[in-house]
């Protein structure tokens, strides 16, 4: 089985190399012969998918067949591992995840190469660039991190098993989502670099890559938040984001990718920021590769990172090649990227995009700086330092608040120039709503002068309200205009409005989701926790809740043995639920794992919903008594709801616009309207 996989990887490398070299030759020496050569290169690229798919299939089959002669399967699986996790073995370790990366890249490449008729020449350039990236990953797989390496000596009877932290249902979908995001940015990168190399006229390449970029961004968003939810549900420390280097690695391309999604509109609509956009997508792709390097090279310590290995040098080399290629073609063809228009006013949609991009890039720089500072410190001072949450929070929270302000104001500013009158008209009600929420927070006991975190919570609450209300007001005002002209009621009119410009109104829904996520995060300063050794009948109070330990129980299955605490939860003397925090001992890996239980108080609190979060930490070795840790985390469920709204918004933005209605009679326009002023 391992031989089949190994040959498949070698064949894939040969096909990718042909796709790259043949495609490049066809582009460099155009002619009748080269057209045929280009076509064979395209087909070779398509075949890469089939061969890499075969290699991945072999690895998964080996996991299901418990083929421990393959070292990778021995290290990441065992006989009693449940089937979904055996499937997830593919991306559970270094070599498998690189193979998975290669598989996803070949899948994206397959779609791109099948759709080449959209613009044959631009697609040929993009195909060559993708083939070059694929060659790098296949070189790694064949010569540095071989997933089909065989075990030496006698065959072990069972494998080491999958890391217990990864034995959680979300881990079956979190890495694929994240990788779809990481790998997906190769496509806009390939189009951008291809467009720069061939001095592509106009902005059509942006239209072509728009959906690719949005889909990729959506996958990365899903991946990041699934990771956050996994950390919250599995790691048992009551939080969802710890500014761990691996979390940072996924967040950095998201930040620059988000900046790109905004600034690219300026290029589409006004022919501005061409150089900036080019470098933004180069940076996003570079950061995706850099993130992979961070998690695999061992340069930073992280609870998530793969084991240290020598492949870090490969990634450094590849990053340098990417930088050199991008820099060379930028210098040679930079005159092609001249802006067509200039900024006309500081109070305009364009300037809001400029500031939005500045903040996103600064945010990304801060995260990168914090991630790399320990290395820099070791280099300069000879000693490592830790850069933990206080550093990131101090810098990034103010930046996030400014970004929220721009999220609220930017969409309501007109392109070119916005009048003061229009500003007043658009912002009055959302502004008053935000003030009302601020006053309500003060009335309910938020004291911003006692602690900076309360001040941030107050500001975040007001700004998130401002964002939500501006989005609602945009839908309502636009819907009313359509309702007036068509005679429809407001809701169908708003639907009609969205259908006329899906990207704009889908984007607003994403902004609305962001506001909800922020509302979920702002509960952090109000978190409470309690820890107690709890025997039968012992009680612990946390906020309005009383937790009573009813009993403990045990169970055993082939994969793990576990213990549950049975905790009754009371509020105001009335029992509201029973929770079962768990502790498992995985037999194959001989590792212990806590499995927290979470109860969202939706029925009791609805809007001010809290998570009651219980962890069975284990038995105190000194007293022999079980320890239960309880957290009460206000508003957290809103984060996951907000993410769903963001994803829904992205999906709605992917739909095609309704065909424009042709007006044959001149319209009577009584006064200038700002509704539908553009994206």
């Amino acid at each position: 089985m391992s031989q089949l996989g190994s040959y498949a990887l070698l064949l894939a490398l040969a096909l990718s190399a042909y796709s790259f070299i043949g495609g490049l030759a066809a582009l460099v020496w155009p002619g009748a012969q080269s057209e045929r050569l280009g076509e064979t290169a395209r087909r070779a690229g398509i075949a890469v998918f089939a061969v890499v798919f075969l290699a991945a299939l072999v690895l998964v089959a080996a996991a299901f067949a418990d083929d421990f002669s393959i070292a990778y399967i021995f290290h990441h699986s065992n006989r009693d591992l449940p089937a979904p996790y055996k499937f997830a073995t593919l991306w559970s370790g270094q070599e498998g995840s690189l193979l998975f990366w290669s598989l996803l890249l070949s899948s994206y490449g397959l779609i791109l190469r099948l759709r080449h008729r959209t613009d044959t020449r631009l697609f040929a350039y993009a195909s060559v660039i993708i083939a070059a990236v694929q060659v790098f990953f296949l070189l790694l797989l064949n010569f540095a991190a071989h997933p089909f390496a065989v075990m030496q000596g006698s065959l072990p009877p069972d494998g080491n098993g999958l890391n217990p932290l990864l034995q959680y249902p979300e881990m079956v979908i979190h890495p694929p989502m994240l990788y779809l995001g990481y790998v997906g940015f190769t496509i806009p990168f390939a189009f951008a670099l291809g467009a720069l190399i061939m001095k592509y006229p106009g902005e059509k390449w942006i239209h072509i890559t728009r959906r690719w970029t949005m889909v990729t961004w959506m996958f990365l968003t899903c991946g990041i938040f699934l990771g956050a939810h996994w950390a919250y549900s599995v790691l048992g420390w009551g939080g969802y984001w710890g500014w761990d280097p691996v979390e940072n690695a996924s967040f950095m391309p998201w930040l620059t990718g988000t900046a790109f999604l905004h600034s690219v509109m300026m290029q589409e609509k006004r022919g501005m920021l061409k150089v900036w956009n080019m470098w933004l997508i180069f940076a996003t792709f570079g950061l995706s590769i850099f993130g992979t390097f961070l998690t695999r090279s061992g340069v930073v310590s992280s609870v998530h990172a793969f084991a240290q290995s020598s492949i870090g040098d490969w990634f450094v080399g590849f990053l340098l090649v990417i930088l050199a290629v991008c820099l060379y073609f930028y210098i040679v063809n930079r005159h092609h990227l001249r802006s067509e228009h200039r900024l006309e006013s500081l109070v305009s949609r364009e300037s809001s995009f400029l500031f939005n991009n500045l903040l996103f890039v600064l945010f990304c720089f801060t995260v990168l700086w914090g991630t790399l500072f320990p290395i820099l410190s070791e280099w300069v001072q000879g000693k490592k330092v830790t850069v933990g949450p206080p550093f990131y929070n101090k810098v990034t929270i103010p930046v996030t608040l400014l970004l929220l302000l721009l999220t609220a104001t930017g969409p309501l500013l007109a392109w070119r120039k916005t009048s003061l009158e229009s500003l007043k008209r658009n912002f009055l009600w959302p502004f008053l709503g935000a003030i009302a929420v601020g006053v309500a927070m003060l009335v309910f006991g938020v004291r911003p002068w006692t602690d900076i975190s309360y001040f941030y919570a107050l500001m975040a609450g007001m700004l998130a309200t401002l964002v939500a209300l501006t989005v609602i007001s945009e839908f309502v005002r636009g819907g009313r205009v359509i309702a007036r002209h068509t005679g429809q009621s407001l809701l169908p009119s708003m639907l009609h409005l969205w259908h006329r410009n899906t990207r704009r109104y889908g984007g607003y829904i994403v902004h609305f989701g962001v506001a909800i996520v922020v509302i979920g995060i702002l509960g952090t300063p109000f978190n409470q926790e309690a820890e107690k050794e709890m025997g039968y009948g012992d009680k612990v109070s946390l906020g309005p809740y009383t937790l009573v330990c009813r009993s403990y129980t045990q169970e055993d299955n082939p994969n793990y043995g576990n213990e549950w605490a049975i905790i009754d939860v009371f509020r105001g003397g009335k029992q509201i639920t029973t929770m079962y925090p768990e502790r498992r001992f995985y037999k194959a890996s001989q590792q212990t794992q806590t499995v927290p239980r979470i109860h969202a108080t939706v029925r009791e609190d609805l809007f001010l919903v809290k998570d009651l979060y219980l962890v069975y930490e284990g038995i105190n070795p000194d007293t022999g008594r079980p320890i239960i840790k309880a957290h009460l985390n206000p508003m957290v469920p809103w984060i996951w709801i907000g993410v769903l709204v963001m994803i829904f918004g992205t999906i709605t933005a992917l739909f095609a616009n309704a065909a424009p209605v042709r007006v044959t009679v001149p319209a009577r326009v009584p006064e200038p309207a700002t509704v539908g002023a553009g994206d």
């Binding site: 009551g238 410190s377 410009n501 002023a677």
Partner: protein
């Protein structure tokens, strides 16, 4: 007189009890505050007070040392310094604001200032260079068509 004395003793007792409670509360707050400035060194990458590994070889011992330091009424700096001496500089959750470590804190703000200044200068230069709108009477039909196309592109409606 005797009753007065009893009252005084009661009052004094109350004051002492309140002070002790307040001291205890203060110690708890200090313990909590300092515990969130330290990392567990077991490799879990968690804040010391958030490391939830029962039987962790480090966190229980470190929490004990922190509680002892707080009880001895050492200053915060001295307590943290004791941990740095024992476990190395990585035990602190964030870089200090001294020496080279200050660079960690300064650079993002420097980058922000640089970015804002560059952006404002760029925006002002751009807006000053904007061409005045020409008289509509001098526009040819072709130019007007181009403007219409541009307007449609910008508004998408």
């Amino acid at each position: 007189m005797r009753g007065f004395s009893q009252n005084r003793w009661s009052l004094a007792g109350l004051v002492v009890l309140t002070a002790l409670l307040a001291m205890g509360a203060g110690d708890d707050a200090r313990f909590n505050n300092l515990g969130h400035k330290l990392m567990c060194v077991c490799g879990c990458n968690q804040v010391l007070l958030e490391c939830n590994h029962v039987g962790c070889a480090y966190s229980d011992r470190m929490r004990g040392e922190l509680a002892a330091g707080v009880e001895r009424s050492e200053s915060d700096d001295l307590t943290l310094q004791t941990f740095v001496q024992k476990y190395g500089p990585t035990v602190l959750i964030a870089p200090t604001s001294t020496g080279f470590n200050r660079v960690a804190w300064v650079v993002p703000y420097f980058a922000l200032a640089l970015g804002v200044i560059s952006l404002v200068v760029l925006a002002r230069n751009w807006s000053h260079r904007t061409q005045p709108v020409s008289n509509s009477a001098s526009q040819t039909p072709d130019m007007l068509d181009a403007y219409r196309r541009q307007a449609r592109k910008e508004t998408e409606l």
